[in-house]
């Protein structure tokens, strides 16, 4: 049930600018710019250069926020971030290997 590990690029690889409730993100490796709404920036922060499963991501975000939503909602957000090239599945997943 652990599922894949997700990881985002290091903080050095992105440039973030707050825009009145939204976040503009410049992704240096791809040279693309994205506009993010919550909880996307918080998800990226939770897994920047530190892979985690969906459950672990929920736990990390719960340490700083009152998270309103379930695992399925998080998986939908992760899928969007994957499609945008901002999140990828870590190739080496201890849980997957087990």
């Amino acid at each position: 049930m652990a599922g894949p590990h997700y990881v985002a690029d290091r903080a050095d690889d992105v440039r973030l600018v707050e825009l009145d409730g939204l976040t503009a993100l410049y992704h240096r490796p791809s040279g693309t710019t994205h506009i993010l709404a919550a909880p996307a920036p918080q998800i990226l922060a939770a897994i920047a250069d530190d892979p985690a499963t969906a459950d672990e991501i929920l736990a990390r975000m719960a340490a700083g926020f009152d998270v309103d939503g379930d695992r399925d909602a998080l998986l939908s957000r992760l899928a969007e971030l994957e499609a945008a090239g901002l999140v990828r599945r870590a190739s080496c997943s201890p849980a997957e290997a087990a």
Partner: protein
């Protein structure tokens, strides 16, 4: 993002208010990618980066066909010393050798780039190179 805690009154610490973070409905969208104007695209393509191999495969060697193999595998080449820029990738894909890249490894690196898939580090850059302008 930071939240200031109210000053304690009468010396009593007050609990900090926690921000509610809604994960949203499954159909909601929280990411919009900006399509740059053509001129800006050209600039982005030249400066975007393709690590060879991707960071999660750091240390692995690149075989002549672009696949990743164990370090020291005969006929394979060590990783590129630094991420390749979009401009360098264009040179590689044309069969050339960019300055600072091992000429013998160039073809292996070019094949690695051709095998990039969505979700892999550098794919967006590679896809940008393929877009007609």
């Amino acid at each position: 993002m930071s939240e200031t805690n109210p000053e304690p009154e009468d010396g009593a610490a007050q609990p900090s208010r926690r921000i509610v973070l809604a994960l949203g409905a499954a159909a909601a969208s929280t990411v919009v990618t900006i399509k740059p104007a053509l001129a800006q695209t050209a600039g982005s393509v030249l400066s975007c980066q393709i690590p060879v191999p991707a960071p999660q495969a750091a240390g692995q060697y690149i075989a002549q066909d672009g696949s990743l193999v164990a370090p020291g595998t005969p006929g394979s080449f060590p990783p590129a010393a630094r991420p390749l820029t979009g401009e360098e990738a264009k040179v590689l894909l044309r069969g050339g050798t960019p300055v600072g890249v091992d000429s013998q490894a160039a073809q292996a690196y070019a094949n690695y780039i051709r095998r990039l898939q969505a979700g892999m580090s550098g794919f967006t850059c590679y896809a940008s190179l393929q877009m007609p302008r």
